[in-house]
């Protein structure tokens, strides 16, 4: 692994990403829009929800609007990082292979992409945390940030996986939209979870630990460490498959 190669390719990848001006603008607008819509349509009332990672019997009483703002913030981080991760890997992989003929290694290209993705996840998480803080005061600000980061990591790795496996853009986008919409934007909502019958299915989905960590950070004083570690393990499983598929697709003699 050569640092010079990593830094040059990483810088070029970041520039390419930032030059999608409309996409970068949407990165800022979408979470704001989500939160604004929630504030406008969600009633200001007390609701009941469960946080199974805190304990099966623990039931939270919170303001529905606050709960939904935090949840939708996490969903926005998951959705957007998955999209950008997909784009990082799926686009121009043939040009990347040409770079490998010139002298780069696939491990250097993928590591540089991961660094760019890491920067994006942290930036997005800090931005959404700041945005959420405009509407409510989280119990533990940095635990909430950690929850968002873990969501970005799991869904970022999922985006990389889809980008490695699916060659066509439309199919890739559909894979990202399908899972992030059903999982991170719907089933993982603790209000839905509380009323669900087959809860074990929801627990198996990638958004489970990140949403739990975010909710714990925003509404409880419990440590999110264990939940964040579970998220990282889940994301790392995606990443391990990405490493294999990427190395296989990019191999040269």
């Amino acid at each position: 692994m050569r640092l010079k190669f990593l830094s040059i390719y990483g810088a070029m990848s970041a520039r390419q990403l930032l030059r999608h001006r409309v996409a970068v603008l949407l990165l800022l607008i979408i979470p704001t829009l989500f939160c604004t819509i929630i504030v406008l349509i969600t009633p200001d009332r007390v609701i009941v929800f469960e946080l199974p990672t805190v304990g099966d019997s623990v039931v939270q009483l919170e303001n529905e609007r606050d709960e939904t703002i935090v949840f939708i913030g996490c969903a926005a981080v998951c959705l957007l990082t998955a999209f950008f991760a997909l784009h990082l890997v799926q686009k121009q992989w043939q040009a990347d292979r040409r770079l490998m003929v010139a002298g780069y290694k696939s491990s250097e290209l993928l590591t540089a992409k991961l660094c760019v993705l890491g920067g994006l996840i942290v930036s997005m998480s800090l931005y959404v945390s700041a945005l959420v803080s405009l509407f409510l005061v989280p119990q533990n600000y940095w635990s909430t940030v950690a929850g968002f980061v873990s969501g970005g990591f799991v869904y970022g790795c999922y985006g990389l996986l889809v980008g490695s496996l699916v060659r066509r853009e439309l199919e890739g986008v559909l894979c990202v939209v399908l899972l992030s919409n059903i999982d991170a934007s719907w089933l993982q909502n603790p209000i839905i979870y509380a009323a669900a019958e087959k809860k074990e299915i929801i627990r198996l989905l990638p958004g489970f630990y990140p949403v739990q960590a975010t909710m714990m950070g925003a509404f409880t004083n419990h440590s999110v460490l264990e939940t964040v570690i579970c998220s990282m393990v889940y994301g790392s499983a995606f990443l391990a498959i990405v490493l294999l598929v990427y190395a296989w697709r990019m191999r040269i003699r």
């Binding site: 070029m12 520039r15 030059r19 121009q92 040409r98 003929v101 010139a102 002298g103 003699r253």
Partner: protein, 207 residues
């Protein structure tokens, strides 16, 4: 024999390849020696690009072997460029890969002159015309003055001036002892080649 091996930059021996049941290459054998310009012509779908992909290592042959010597440059048929990076950024990215030091390495400066890029060094690929994109595609393969330059349809999309400059560059490279392997579906400049092969139904024959 040793002298001959030193002068051989590319040796393709008994290469065969099939996509599923469709055989694309059958027992292809040829070599490229130092200072030679070798051409391979064939119709669309005759296996030319597959052969080049095997030579540069993108594909593994089902049978046979490929031996290369010295620095190799490869210009693919498709424009494999990053549409949101500028010409200058492409040159820096590839210069680093080739191990050319410095922000403005001299071969890159030469290239900017030979292929007349000075005006568009700061332009993104998406802002370039098709011909300019093809010039950049070509330039990235020759940035490090390769001993063997492998070109897949290098003249498609070039205007007449660039086409002439390309052949001028090829002659200069040959005089400097470098070799070119050019694959095309047309061969207008037969006199420029030292050896010309045709590829038909996956088999290579001297033209």
């Amino acid at each position: 024999m040793k002298e001959m091996m030193r002068d051989t930059l590319l040796q393709v021996r008994g290469v065969s390849h099939a996509y599923g049941k469709h055989r694309v290459l059958s027992d292809v054998t040829f070599g490229v020696h130092r200072g030679q310009v070798v051409g391979i012509i064939g119709e669309n779908g005759s296996g030319k690009s597959t052969l080049l992909k095997i030579i540069v290592g993108w594909l593994r042959p089902d049978r046979g072997e490929v031996v290369t010597e010295g620095r190799m440059g490869y210009c693919p048929q498709d424009l494999l460029l990053y549409e949101r990076l500028t010409v200058g950024e492409h040159i820096r990215l590839f210069a680093a890969a080739y191990g050319i030091n410095g922000k403005n390495p001299s071969p890159a400066e030469d290239l900017l002159g030979v292929f007349q890029f000075q005006q568009c060094e700061g332009k993104r690929v998406s802002e370039l015309s098709g011909g300019m994109q093809q010039r950049l595609n070509l330039s990235l393969a020759v940035l490090h003055s390769p001993h063997l330059l492998i070109l897949d349809e290098p003249c498609s999309g070039l205007d007449y001036g660039s086409y002439r400059r390309f052949w001028q560059y090829a002659q200069e490279a040959r005089e400097a002892g470098r070799s070119l392997l050019i694959v095309s579906h047309l061969a207008y400049e037969r006199s420029q080649f030292d050896v010309l092969y045709t590829i038909e139904d996956g088999s290579l024959q001297c033209a």
